[in-house]
């Protein structure tokens, strides 16, 4: 059997297994388990798309929270019914035509991605005039601008009150469907000539230019694709937690994503997937440390925020002992899995 056929078959089998697992959880899982699985999928989408810019292009972009916000608000405003909107917007009414539009969830997700992409395009011109720390600051600023605008533009976002009572459309099938699609297309992209051009820019921008690669076009491409999937994931997130407000999408979210891709390995899609899954699961599992603990002889009071302390410690340990993250820049591929299996059987 040819390796490419074998790999395709293996991927199909893996997806089928994933589908069965999701089906079982959907039927018999507790609400809590389903929520963790949904979170996992959304964080996988976010991390993999963020990694395209930060890991593969080597650009320190600190504003994915802006695109997630834009996606979340866009899709929420599009799925709410006109009556719900009238009830929610008590201080200032929502502007026309958003006040009367209602579209299916799928359409709202695409609209979320497209809107985020348009915003990304608009800011890309100032962003890519600079590099390094300066670029980080410009994108960081953009994230803040969007958050402040969400607070201020009451007739569009309902200000600090946010949007409440969204229909929980985000099922396991939606979140995992988007995650699988994102991972597949981004993997294909980074393994193509476009991906090589992006990596070349990361390695040496001057040499890349001399070999005929236009840095602006390729950084823009990565930035827009990343923004699109961040926007879609924002839409999924909004319809998972059903309440969104400007405080939900601060720099803190970007910080978490940064931890995920650094721990996973900058420039490794499989690393981003593994780290995102661990993060979503760990975030819940480590809730224990924030609740009061009875150790028999002494009772520790619950300390809110303890999880973040633990996460930071994990990050430091990873940076100290595995500087390039779990995966470095290598990928888990079927070829590697089979090579490892062959070694096992020989030994």
């Amino acid at each position: 059997m040819e390796t490419s056929t074998r790999n395709t078959l293996c991927t199909i089998v893996l997806l089928a297994v994933l589908a069965v697992v999701l089906y079982i959880f959907e039927k018999h899982g507790t609400e809590y388990q389903i929520r963790i699985l949904n979170n996992m999928a959304i964080f996988i989408t976010l991390a993999v798309s963020y990694n395209l810019v930060n890991g593969f292009c080597g650009i320190l972009h600190l504003g994915p929270n802006a695109f997630i916000t834009i996606g979340a608000y866009t899709s929420a405003l599009l799925t709410m019914s006109p009556a719900e909107k009238q009830l929610s917007f008590i201080i200032e009414p929502l502007i026309w035509p958003l006040s009367v539009i209602q579209v299916p969830f799928a359409v709202s997700l695409i609209a979320a991605g497209v809107t985020a992409t348009i915003f990304a395009f608009l800011i890309s011109f100032p962003v890519f005039r600079v590099r390094g720390d300066y670029l980080a600051i410009v994108t960081l600023g953009f994230g803040e601008v969007i958050r402040v605008l969400c607070n201020a533009m009451q007739s569009l976002t309902n200000g600090p009150l946010g949007l409440k009572g969204l229909t929980p459309y985000t099922t396991l099938w939606w979140s995992w469907g988007v995650a699988v699609f994102t991972v597949m297309v981004i993997t294909k992209l980074v393994n193509s000539s476009y991906g090589r051009a992006m990596k070349a820019i990361r390695e040496d921008e001057t040499a890349a230019k001399a070999m005929g690669v236009d840095p602006f076009r390729h950084l823009l491409l990565a930035f827009l694709i990343s923004a699109f999937f961040s926007g879609v994931a924002g839409g999924l997130l909004a319809h998972l937690i059903t309440t969104i407000s400007p405080t939900l999408f601060t720099f803190f979210l970007t910080f978490n994503l940064l931890i995920i891709i650094v721990v996973g390995g900058l420039g490794s899609t499989s690393g981003a997937v593994i780290a995102a899954a661990l993060f979503a699961w760990g975030g819940e599992a480590l809730r224990v440390v924030e609740s009061p603990m009875n150790l028999g002889f002494v009772t520790l009071p619950g300390i809110p925020g303890m999880r973040m302390v633990l996460f930071s410690i994990i990050l430091m340990v990873v940076i100290l002992f595995a500087r390039r993250g779990i995966m470095g820049r290598s990928e888990l591929s079927w070829n590697r899995v089979f090579a490892a299996l062959r070694l096992q059987t020989k030994a």
């Binding site: 297309v185 981004i186 294909k188 992209l189 193509s192 000539s193 476009y194 991906g195 090589r196 051009a197 990596k199 070349a200 390695e203 040496d204 001057t206 040499a207 890349a208 230019k209 001399a210 070999m211 005929g212 690669v213 236009d214 840095p215 491409l221 694709i225 820049r329």
Partner: protein, 257 residues
């Protein structure tokens, strides 16, 4: 005068410092021309102006009848001028094969969404690129190293890879910036043979900077000498070797007792 490649009174000023002044040259197709001069004479600046990394303060770069002065580097490469760098600039964390494949990107026809969806037409193009890239590696005797990381190669092979990568961009004019720097005499001799070979096989025109006099004198058909940004001599290797200004620039004024 030739319409193939011409520099007209090229000049570069950084603030008050004149790095290059009134640099003119015309190169015919198939020529092998050398540019020499002491350190800091402005040789690399000339290359940077040709390839668009610097916009000349004065003068013009004419390429196949077109004025390409100040065009962005990637466009100039797509027009058929490729270069190597004095200090090696490989994509260190990518494989040897990938390094060469990057140079094909500007010839890629399929759009990014075809790549993302893995459409057959794109896969065909990828396969073509890989085969042709491997041919370039074979040509420079790097075929067996295709899957190694470029940064892990020994120095001499890194230099050869730089040439392979530049060749893969399909230039008509190849600019080599000190290709023999850091090589031993044996390697330098092999490099001279290689440069001549690739020129003949790919019908290239080559313009090169080099410090190694033996290398330049043996290889180039015509030499230009720069000192402090000014052209002090031009001619065949034999003429250059006898030229009093060149001897002065390299060895200093004879002391009068």
């Amino acid at each position: 005068m030739s319409d193939f490649f011409r520099l007209d009174n090229l000049g570069m000023q950084f603030g008050g410092l004149t790095a290059v002044k009134d640099f003119s040259i015309a190169i015919d197709p198939g020529e092998l021309v050398g540019l020499i001069g002491p350190n800091g004479a402005g040789k690399t600046t000339v290359f940077n102006m040709i390839t668009g990394f610097l916009t000349p303060t004065f003068g013009k770069v004419l390429w196949q009848g077109r004025d390409i002065t100040g065009w962005p580097p990637h466009t100039i490469t797509a027009q058929g001028i490729a270069r190597t760098f004095q200090n090696i600039r490989l994509f260190a964390d990518m494989t040897v094969l990938e390094n060469v494949m990057v140079s094909f990107h500007h010839t890629l026809r399929s759009r990014f969404w075809k790549a993302m969806l893995g459409l057959p037409s794109h896969k065909r193009e990828e396969r073509r690129i890989e085969t042709e890239a491997r041919d370039f590696l074979e040509e420079l005797h790097l075929g067996h190293l295709a899957d190694e990381k470029a940064g892990s190669l020994p120095y001499g092979q890194q230099r050869r890879l730089e040439i392979a990568r530049a060749l893969a961009a399909r230039p008509k004019l190849l600019l080599l910036d000190e290709p023999a720097a850091g090589m031993n005499p044996q390697e330098t001799m092999e490099l001279a043979r290689l440069v001549r070979e690739i020129r003949d096989r790919h019908r290239l025109t080559i313009f090169l900077i080099e410090h190694d006099m033996k290398f330049v004198m043996g290889l180039c058909e015509r030499i230009k000498v720069l000192d402090y940004g000014i052209t002090i001599a031009e001619g065949t290797p034999a003429e250059i070797q006898r030229h009093p200004d060149v001897i002065k620039a390299y060895l200093g004024e004879p002391k009068h007792a």
